[in-house]
């Protein structure tokens, strides 16, 4: 979406027309959902936060600066909301889920590369590895940001990411 179109949508929103928000939603819902899903691996949570994001956008419509790069603004807001949700509500639960899961990645060390879907490939990763990959690829976060979010050393984060990429390569992913 061009900046001028985004500005028009914001103007519409400011005048109380929800059509402006709907145009932004249709354009960016996939992108925002992906960014949020990268941080919150639960589909339900990602949907909740994505919905909240657009409601929040409506709430702050009078304060949106239309002269700035809007995509970066949207991603920043979405990412902050997801991180906030992760830290406040679900960090403990996610940790528990991670601890409970079987480390499936170890078993495929010597597996033959097979023609599998991405979903299956991702299943071969440990939860913490998948989380780092999601944050890096989907949420476009830096290793430093991931390390701060997960509250673990940056060395551990990069190590997890490299491990994950190594595993995914066996399935033909580069």
């Amino acid at each position: 979406m061009e900046q001028s179109r985004f500005a028009d949508c914001v103007k519409k929103m400011q005048s109380g027309d929800r059509e402006g928000l709907k145009i932004i939603y249709e354009e960016y819902v996939g992108y925002i959902y992906t960014v949020v899903y990268g941080i919150l691996p639960s589909k339900e949570d990602a949907e909740d936060v994505t919905s909240e994001f657009f409601i929040h956008l409506w709430d702050i419509k009078d304060r949106i600066k239309t002269e700035d790069a809007h995509k970066a603004f949207l991603v920043t807001v979405a990412r902050n909301m997801a991180l906030d949700f992760y830290r406040k509500n679900r960090a403990k639960e996610y940790l528990d889920e991670e601890m409970a899961e079987e480390p499936s990645g170890e078993n495929i060390e010597n597996d033959v590369i097979a023609d599998v879907s991405l979903k299956e490939a991702l299943l071969s990763l440990k939860e913490e590895e998948r989380q780092v990959v999601s944050m890096k690829i989907l949420s476009e976060m830096t290793f430093e940001e991931i390390s701060k979010t997960l509250n673990c050393p940056m060395g551990t984060v990069t190590w997890r990411y490299q491990n994950a990429i190594k595993k995914l390569r066996r399935y033909g992913y580069e």
């Binding site: 992906t34 949907e47 919905s51 409601i55 991405l118 990959v133 992913y173 580069e174």
Partner: protein
């Protein structure tokens, strides 16, 4: 055949995006409703505090009364201030007191004249005494400086103290320029280190006040191999008045004002000899205000 992880991952997630517009719309409705509810609740307490009209009328009546009283009082005060002096003046004119007024002013001017005459006589006698002292002064300036301190102490609290002090400094400078006071020529001293002179300790010290209480001290040390080493030290909370020539010792000498910054002339001088036999000349300088003295250290050239 390699697959692009990033592209495929993004595509897969974005394909799974559910339709959230209904939820968003509902959320916005809730948000708008809660905002609407908040607005009247803000107004209600203000309405509840509205008092009966009768009370308000009473208050307004009281206010009006106070305003009227204040305006009457202020008008009376203005009338009193303006008319009373005019009335008194008129009475004085009527009863013919003009002569008395004239005599009074004449007496006053007489008194003034005699006072000022005494003042100028005092000042003249001070000047004569001072000149006599100057003629007697055959010793170097730093000794004279001690006399000055005594004089200042004795005359503490006098009205003309600051004027006397300025006169003394001016007279000292005049005397210095006329050659009345014996002192060594500054030509014999050099700010530079004599060539070939080897010295481990400070050989030339230059400092400058870079702020009100910050002294930049520059030490140039001539090392044995003939290379100059410059060391810069910034001394904070420095009080120039605490440093006098007599307090400056060889090896820790410092210049607070450099030679080209002197505003008056050399005020006093002192020769110091360092432990290693280096001869230093210390001058005292007085700044523009005439109140602050600064030591200036030279290295005596051979």
């Amino acid at each position: 055949m390699s697959k692009n992880l990033e592209e495929e991952y993004l595509r897969e997630i974005q394909n799974d995006v559910p339709d959230l517009w209904g939820r968003i719309n509902a959320g916005i409705d809730k948000l708008e409703e809660s905002k609407e509810k908040e607005e009247p609740s803000r107004v209600t307490p203000i309405n509840a505090e509205v008092k009966p009209e009768a009370d308000n009328a009473k208050k307004r009546g009281k206010k009006r009364g106070v305003i009227a009283l204040v305006s009457v009082l202020s008008a009376a005060a203005i009338l009193f201030i303006v008319f009373v002096p005019v009335a008194l003046l008129g009475i004085a004119v009527i009863f013919g007191n003009n002569a008395k007024f004239g005599n009074g002013s004449a007496e006053m001017s007489m008194a003034e004249t005699s006072d000022s005459a005494m003042y100028y006589e005092d000042a003249a006698s001070d000047g004569m005494m001072y000149e006599e002292e100057m003629e007697e002064a055959e010793e170097p300036y730093y000794e004279y400086g001690n006399n000055m301190e005594d004089m200042d102490m004795a005359g503490a609290g006098e009205v003309q103290e600051s004027l006397d002090s300025d006169n003394k400094i001016a007279a000292l400078i005049q005397g210095d320029q006329a050659g009345d006071i014996p002192r060594e020529s500054e030509e014999n001293y050099s700010a530079a280190i004599p060539e070939g002179q080897a010295k481990e300790e400070i050989s030339y010290v230059k400092g400058d006040l870079i702020a009100e209480d910050v002294l930049l001290r520059v030490d140039i040390v001539r090392s044995i191999d003939g290379m100059n080493v410059m060391e810069v030290t910034v001394l904070k909370d420095f009080k120039p008045e605490a440093f006098f020539a007599t307090d400056v010792h060889a090896g820790e000498c410092m210049i607070v004002k450099s030679d080209d910054q002197k505003l008056w002339d050399s005020f006093t001088n002192k020769i110091l000899t360092s432990d290693s036999g280096i001869v230093l000349k210390v001058d005292m300088y007085v700044d523009e205000s005439g109140l602050n003295e600064y030591p200036l250290v030279y290295l005596k050239s051979e």
